[in-house]
Subunit: 482 residues, 4 copies
């Protein structure tokens, strides 16, 4: 009897990419998809996907994993827990951060994050390098070296006391990125406005988590977007704006793209499904929904959906940033913290896809193909992860097999990160990723993890098309390029 | 010996869709693609695609074929010649027009166009119904009946003396479309401005073809777009703006989409590759480049490329409208015609794909995947042609096998329509569709047509997602929907 | 004893212009102000203005007086009644219309309106010429002749069945104006939208006056403004947009001015003080508040105030158009008319200033100087009425002496036009023009008219600065100017 | 024989205000105008103004006089020299600065500037208080006290190393202004962009004055305007943007005003009459035209003229900032300074009016009345200087008698400030202020100064209408106002 044609066959499912939907089997050999077709020959192993959707594994390009904050606080997850959560949620690739703080040598930081990731990761991963201290050594020595070894994206913060770069340093980073052909991701909010509002609230004794959204005045987002766009246009350096939260922010992105600025943008599920009202809870319970930028209002959600529809925003990431609701996490500043002392962030890597599937596929907003594109195909393309983000012959066999009919009521304790809670508790979603496969290996099946820590692989990335300058800096900067 | 697995295998090519590029064979059974994979089993017939790109056949949603003008002039092509030209150019689906004129019964018009198409068509086809006389009978009787039989798109003209609808009739048509769930395509230019300018030029003895572009003042385009958009928003009826030619027009489309109007738009290769200077030729030679709206300037080309990049324009069609350069065509008004008397239009269905492939793939502007999307995938999706526009298991096997290295110098006499000339004569392009396949049948191979007239099939279309109203008409119109 | 220095002294008042407020006497000799000063010498007559505001007489540039409509209906006023109403309201100059209808010779129309005005007018007056039939004779013969004799402004309608010009004729009129250096005033609404909506309401049996506002969909205004602006820019001809009613219209004016289009605009008190809710009355009573464009909503009022503040709108006129509430006026179409059959318009020339004084001066919105500017100085400047619109040495002594403390409750029967009602009945205003003077003659004093019919004077107007083209037509039109 | 009616009569001139032009005499008693009229009675003194224009004295609200910079450099003028220059140029009121530097007590600074001004001033004056160190003491103690004593305007810098406030301090200042009802004037440029560009030019050895304009990249202006506007809107505090230099900046002001932000703006003659090309001179000669923001291009000039025409900019000040071309001024950093080491600023208080009169009146751009408004009436109104800025009964007799026909060729050495040069040298202007009068005293006559140092008077100012908040802060800030 002949050798099976495939190592693994996913049989009888509905295979979908961002372009196409097909009733087809998938044939996998080694780590790759090698055939998409009707009635494929036998595999060593076969998975019955009848009545199921076979989608590309999710790509989550914005996750904070085992990341140390400026004040020494480590977030709740280990690489193992975070990537396990990712796998259970149908996500097979994440991009996390290597976070420099002031005084740290960037190359050491990156090496350190690599060490931890390679021990724990269950899914494939890559890094953005956070630059909190863009010294000459960082920019002239470390950045070139690290970009050359597959770390082709930098991240900067325009807010947070100990992380932020001022406008001049922002230009330094953009310029270094341009010279080394790297992409730049930005947390863009106006620091002064946030700091000023926060102090005013504290002065007046308005201390509860529910004041957090108003302490980031709406205008602080669009203002920073505009300023970032002005810098990006001046230097002709492409940028990615992280986590758009307001309608004004979405409009600013649209306007700047129309003006020819090469600016990309993402949002996150929290900005599509939560509002400021979620923080209005007794005691400190609102802390669960505290993230930065804060969640906003219904009309912002609508504006962001529209921006996704028009392509002004291209990506939906999780901004996974898990903190326990205790003194090791959210409340590390001591008892009775003010909202300014509570750590910002919420877990998201696991439920990003289920809550979006429910809204986009089950309830029909934008539809299945845009779901795949926004959560997998587009991040893989923009961040240049060849072989990821779609189902195609020659691609990595990174797959999530969804039961479109399964209803799941989300509860604390059902997710796999270490934060101990989920901001979606109590919601019921329709559609669930039951089987998850990475490079041909089954990661999750029958509700159990099947992979070993450390089996995830580092994905070295060069800058792709998204990071290519347009060749049209401002007239003044052109004088520097002669 | 076992039965071959496939009727036809395209072997060893690089298969590309709007999403993916794969080194893969294609297996075809009957009319469908049934497998995409490495080392597929044998086919009854095999085509070697080594070193070739295997792309979805083009979808050209804007072609004038055997169409009678208001003054009785028939354009140069027959269904056989036009669809043969399409096939040679790698296009396997066209949407043409059934053109009502004043006094004609729409259902008779449509029946008549069907008769001619089914005798001659070599590729698959569908129809837009031109409404020049939207009487109550047309709108209340014929449109519902014809939409129900697969003619789910209407076209109206806002200019041309005997075709145009005024603003009130435009609303009548949009309303009828909304009530019958049809899409509306519009030739949007301000008639009064064009008429006024034309008369002024004639008064001053400025008669040559080179005055044609200026006789359609730039503002006449954006003005009409804005007016159309105002009407579309008022009634909440989606529309498609045909052949965007100016940067102001492109900007208007972008603005309106950002304001929440459901408006789609296309451009054509002539607006990307030609300028008004092309019309400045001795005698009447400039007539070759006369089309309506006219070709514009370099900066318009750039603006339209940018609008394509941002998704403001979603489709590139040909607006194929062939006239011979003699008294049967361009010069039917008699000797020494003024530019107002010369028929507008140029052949384009054949070279649409080659000139765009050269620019987008060979020269790299926007790239291979956007080429496929703009010329095939997006028109199939927007006009709702399931099974067309991509390469996927279960899709029609409509394919064009491109030699990306073949250089062709375009010359009059090398194209297959009956106009007798091509506006691209003298240009050299790189990349050529050498083998073209429709529903598994080879149409073109070794430079020869292999298909019979009448082998093309009518594609009945329901309105798709693009034609779905948003459910948000203006407050005044909402009173009519109670 | 010496001759009195002045014929008339207004003593002890607070004199205000658009620029200055002064405690000063005014000295008048003949028809002119010859001195503004402290303790002026004696006059033959003296008027004590202690505690009073002495303001320039109002200039109302948009009044319909003894005007025949296309269907033969004459509005309610005679020249005597309308100008008497003006005088009682503190207005000393009006611009009315000479209204051509289809088939009429413009020069005859103008002569006829002159005859009636010179018999009846109590205040000074001028004419805009309405062109409903811009034939070659009208444009090439009559317009040049009439502009040369002091009729330097044309008016056209973009709506109304028997008055409107289409886009091409609009261009004809703008071009004739440019060639003869005349200003063009426009009633700009989209005719097709209004007609379409009206028919739909009638079809559904929605017949009452309260459907009138919705039958002019909001977008019909801004759309027409944009179209007019496109034409004005194309030909480089300055225009005045009459009676802005919507926030979108105000925004369009602002945008176009910012783009360099020479476009002026006015609004009227009805758009600042009334809303669509005013039409929701039993039976036909809502007809009192029917005008065209219709009154809108609170947020439109706010937007128009803001546009006045920013200078986007420069003038507040009355659009005085009085019809009796009987078969000679509003209800001339017979009993039980639909809202489409009721004459549009309301009286306004008398109360324009009192209701605005109350809002702007007594209640403080924009203030005294902007009140003077918007109702007197700016219309005199824009329409080029030297000697009118301000209080200055050498100017005509056109004055209104206001008691700023007098409260008046407006009631039907208290105004002097012949419509028989006022749309402001029931409102109480603070501030009243007690004494009104035209060219040194007292017109109104102690509640009585002191002037004879026919004592008003025709003001021949050349085009002023406002009507001067910028010298920057579109590139296409520039070809016509070589 | 009777007493003369007036102390001074200006006889036979053409008197112009921002509203009116009159052939009239002016009668002055004491410090005030008491009559404007024909054939006024005799004065103790009479000035023949036949053939002359009698205009309000200029109000220059932006002059740096005896001002110490952060590095201890004093600018070239004394109060005597600067106000003498003002007087010779037809300006009778200036607003100068009391400049706090870091560590200085604001009340002491203000007292010190008062001492120097009262000894030297020839014309009337007022102060803006520069806040470089907005400590709690400054904002909570000194600002309330000083606003209460007539210093109702604050100024902050968004650029300059030792002067600038960051975004949070900017909000502190705006908030303090709102609570004390003061106006805020801002030098708005993006500091980081300017600093970054400067360093890059120096690194590359591009050191000459001609690199100064490019070192302030164009976008640095509009970016800062937008950021300032965002802050102003957030706190609902009116602001004045100083010295608009770019078309993008002018457009930003227009946009923000249209969005309802209460933002005012000025420009200066250098931005209307000079371009970056003026700095391209051998050696350090370009330093004469160095100011900050820098002068720009022709199209910026056009845009700024247009913004003045539309009312987007309301004021033309001089930004008088004189430095000698030696080691005491421009070159105090030592020999061979780089452009970053050269003091920015140019003299302007004297020629502001003559160069503008030439352009606006003699050459006709915008005209006489807008000339008066922009240079005198509007600054007096916006900065709340009652009795200044117009010619009216009861106003201060601050007058400039212009010979409209006198041609003057400007040369170094002909102006009265102490900088030793003028950036207008070599230009010929038509129109000159020959006699200048302040509060009825002749300041300048027959080319000579007639007034004593110290005869100018301090003008205590309350905040006027311009400084009144709208009452609509952002929703977040509204929480602070409960």
């Amino acid at each position: 009897m002949s050798e099976p044609a495939y190592d693994l066959v996913i049989r009888g499912g509905t295979v979908a990419t961002a372009c196409d939907v097909m009733e087809a089997d998938l044939g996998i050999r080694g780590e790759e998809v090698v055939a998409i077709g009707r009635q494929l020959g036998p595999g060593r192993r076969e998975i019955d996907a009848g009545g199921r959707l076979v989608l590309p594994g999710g790509v989550d390009p914005h996750c904070h994993v085992e990341q140390l904050s400026a004040n020494g606080l480590l977030n709740a997850d280990t690489w193992e827990s975070a990537t396990t959560a990712a796998a259970f949620g149908g996500t097979t690739t994440i991009i996390s951060f290597a976070a420099q703080h002031v005084g740290m040598r960037l190359r050491d930081v990156v090496a350190d994050y690599h060490r931890r990731a390679e021990r724990g990761a269950v899914v494939d991963y890559s890094f953005h390098m956070i630059l909190a201290d863009p010294t000459e050594e960082t920019l002239k020595e470390d950045v070139p070296e690290l970009v050359a070894t597959g770390h082709a994206s930098l991240k900067v913060f325009m807010t947070y006391d100990r992380l932020r770069v001022d406008d001049e340093k922002l230009l330094d980073v953009l310029w270094a990125a341009r010279q080394n052909r790297a992409f730049v991701c930005v947390h863009a909010e106006n620091h002064g406005m946030i700091s000023w509002m926060g102090k005013r609230f504290l002065e007046r004794g308005l201390l509860a988590p529910k004041y957090h959204p108003a302490s980031h005045p709406r205008v602080s987002e669009a203002e920073a977007f505009d300023r970032l766009g002005a810098a990006a246009r001046m230097l002709d350096q492409p940028v990615m704006v992280f986590h758009v939260s307001t309608k004004e922010g979405a409009a600013a992105i649209r306007r700047m793209r129309g003006e020819g600025i090469k600016i990309f943008a993402e949002t996150c599920p929290q900005y599509l499904f939560m509002t400021a009202a979620d923080l209005d809870k007794p005691g400190l319970d609102g802390a669960k929904w505290m993230c930065s930028p804060p969640v906003r209002e219904r009309e912002d959600q609508e504006a962001i959906w529209r921006a996704l529809e028009l392509g002004d925003l291209q990506v939906i990431s999780s901004d996974h940033a898990p903190y326990r609701l205790d003194e090791t996490g959210k409340f590390s500043a001591g008892p009775n913290p003010t909202f300014k002392q509570i750590a910002n962030g919420m877990p998201g890597v696991e439920l990003r896809l289920p809550v979006l599937f429910d809204a986009m596929v089950s309830k029909g907003r934008l539809g299945l193909q845009r779901f795949v594109e926004l959560t997998s195909t587009a991040p893989a393309r923009i961040y240049n992860l060849p072989g990821k983000g779609s189902i195609a012959v020659g691609h990595d066999a990174d797959l999530a097999i969804w039961n479109p009919d399964r209803e799941v009521t989300i509860a604390d304790g059902t997710t796999h990160d270490l934060s101990g809670y989920t901001p979606y508790a109590g919601r019921t979603v329709r559609g669930w990723p039951e089987t998850v496969i990475s490079r041909g290996r089954v990661l999750v099946e029958d509700g159990a993890l099947k992979a070993e820590p450390g089996s995830g692989r580092f994905l070295a990335r060069e800058a792709g098309e998204a990071a290519r300058p347009l060749g049209r800096p401002s007239a003044e900067v052109a004088l520097l390029l002669d």
